[in-house]
């Protein structure tokens, strides 16, 4: 017979084990990477050691360079997101609610959607130069479509039976919008939001790498010119962290706004 303490300990142990499990592989890779750099298998010009990357991170943080670049990149990202997402949301709502508006604009928008927005970079540089407008324009254009398409889909897929109920119970058009249509479309809008956030960072990375005089992308390109591979790696990691952060915030918002939905309440 096992003693009581043994029974109690077992689930505790498996729990810690299962939490640690996903970290084993990344940790092993990190150790291997460090070892490979240390023993000269991996050249510093190809990939600096993790410790060198950490040192570079500390260096650019202390000089204030990193914070300034993060600030400017974040500003660009969210300004573009606000413009593109705002227009996408408004048009998605409008086209979901008004057949006339949908007939008039939807097929045009669907055609434009097929143009990869990054293909416009040469044209955008011709139009705006390499100033802020070019990056804002590209981010806004990239973010516009996922938000537009998902908002439209959300409004379209609102439960007809609930709309009928709202009318039968004497709800005003305004009340139907705010209490039935908008909350009904929200899960789909969040899908567009998260997708749009991904495109937002991606577009910004490309735009900043090609043409910028500030921002994280510029920091990376500048470091490349001086063969500072460690700083290049830091920039890449910063982009990843910012993307992850934005997604986490969106998920938190989603969980708060969609608490009524058992699917999200469980997460």
């Amino acid at each position: 017979m096992p003693s009581r303490s043994e029974i109690d300990e077992k689930p505790e142990g498996t729990h810690t084990m299962s939490r640690a499990l996903p970290w084993i592989v990344p940790l092993a890779i990190l150790l291997l990477w460090q070892a490979a750099s240390q023993f000269g298998v991996l050249a510093d010009q190809i990939m600096p050691a993790p410790t060198a990357v950490a040192e570079a991170f500390w260096r650019v943080t202390r000089s204030g360079e990193l914070l300034r670049d993060i600030e400017i990149s974040t500003w660009r990202a969210f300004a573009g997101f606000a413009v593109g997402g705002g227009i996408g949301f408004a048009l998605g709502m409008l086209n979901g609610l008004s057949q006339l508006s949908e007939k008039l604009t939807d097929s045009t928008l669907q055609m434009v959607r097929n143009i990869p927005h990054l293909a416009l970079i040469p044209l955008v540089i011709l139009w705006f130069g390499i100033g802020e407008e070019a990056k804002l324009f590209l981010v806004a254009l990239g973010v516009f479509f996922p938000i537009y398409v998902n908002t439209l889909h959300g409004v379209r897929s609102v439960d007809r039976q609930l709309l009928e109920m709202g009318r039968a119970y004497g709800m005003s058009e305004r009340a139907i919008f705010w209490r039935v249509v908008f909350p009904g479309a929200l899960p789909s809008i969040f899908v567009g939001l998260r997708y749009g956030l991904g495109i937002m960072w991606l577009t910004l990375i490309v735009a900043e790498t090609i043409s910028a005089s500030s921002g994280i992308g510029f920091m990376a390109m500048n470091a490349r010119e001086f063969m500072m591979v460690d700083v290049v790696v830091v920039s890449i990691l910063i982009y990843a962290a910012l993307g992850k952060l934005a997604d986490s915030v969106a998920r938190l918002l989603e969980r708060t706004c969609l608490a009524w939905n058992p699917v999200y309440a469980e997460l």
């Binding site: 039976q161 609930l162 009928e164 109920m165 709202g166 009318r167 039968a168 119970y169 004497g170 709800m171 005003s172 009340a175 209490r179 039935v180 909350p183 009904g184 929200l186 969609l258 608490a259 009524w260 939905n261 058992p262």
Partner: protein, 259 residues
């Protein structure tokens, strides 16, 4: 958790504030394209009567109910409620086959939907709580609809219909999706609130025994016409298996099945 329906104490104020309205239909016809669903229906329902409309699928019973709820307009003919041929929509409430609760609103705000026509205020919340008490759901005001059982959701829908003190309550097979026991409970609850509040009740159902258990009068609709109009003069509450009720049920079923 199921609160017994016997626990609900009817509010005397509400009893006075909600009395039934008479319904009068003259030559009501409804066509969809080339198909005529209702053929010139003439019908008088006195105030406070409990009417059940039965018939096969596609006989026009749901269409008739939608006309009475103001969700559709008749192609020809007139509907008068309380002597008014227009502007009666707020006197009628419709309960659907599905609860149709707003999943993103908690129970109490869902009931307040029934007061949409009235101006917002603290009074709304109080009335919603009262209506929830009437259907035996006191204490569940802050729940999300998703965690309620099918019967409880339908009770919330009933509270939403009752909260505005309708003169006419129309039910479109409201118990169709419920299990047998919950069905019997809901039938008793509907009968009880009808007796307390005195609204005119119109229930569309394909279940003849349910019609006989609940209604004062049963209308059989066939191909868009009233084919049978039977009074059920039995004391309430009715017991399942009463021989007179069984005879009426048999008579209607014979007509429905063409025997």
């Amino acid at each position: 958790m199921n609160v017994s329906i016997l626990d609900t104490t009817p509010d005397t104020d509400l009893r006075q504030s909600s009395t039934g309205s008479p319904v009068r239909l003259r030559g009501v016809t409804k066509t969809f394209g080339s198909q005529t669903v209702l053929h010139g229906i003439d019908l008088d329902i006195p105030a406070g009567q409990f009417v059940a409309i039965v018939g096969r699928s596609g006989c026009g019973k749901s269409t008739l109910l939608r006309l009475l709820a103001g969700l559709d307009r008749p192609t020809a003919g007139t509907i008068e409620i309380h002597g008014l041929s227009t502007g009666w929509r707020d006197r009628v409430r419709l309960m659907f086959q599905e609860p149709r609760l707003l999943p993103w609103q908690r129970v109490a705000p869902n009931v307040e939907v029934g007061l949409s026509h009235a101006e917002a205020g603290a009074d709304r919340r109080r009335q919603a709580f009262e209506a929830l008490g009437q259907v035996g759901l006191s204490g569940r005001e802050k729940e999300w609809p998703a965690i309620l059982s099918g019967g409880q959701k339908q009770r919330v829908a009933l509270a939403r219909a009752l909260v505005s003190h309708p003169r006419i309550l129309a039910f479109d097979e409201p118990l169709g999706a419920l299990d047998a026991l919950t069905r019997i409970e809901m039938q008793a609850l509907i009968e009880q609130v009808w007796e307390d509040k005195g609204f005119t009740a119109i229930v569309v159902t394909h279940d003849v025994s349910e019609a006989v258990a609940l209604a004062d009068r049963i209308l059989l609709l066939d191909a868009g016409r009233v084919a049978m109009d039977v009074m059920v003069d039995l004391p309430r509450p009715r017991r399942h298996g009463d021989p007179v009720a069984a005879a009426i049920e048999g008579q209607i079923l014979d007509r429905l099945l063409g025997r």
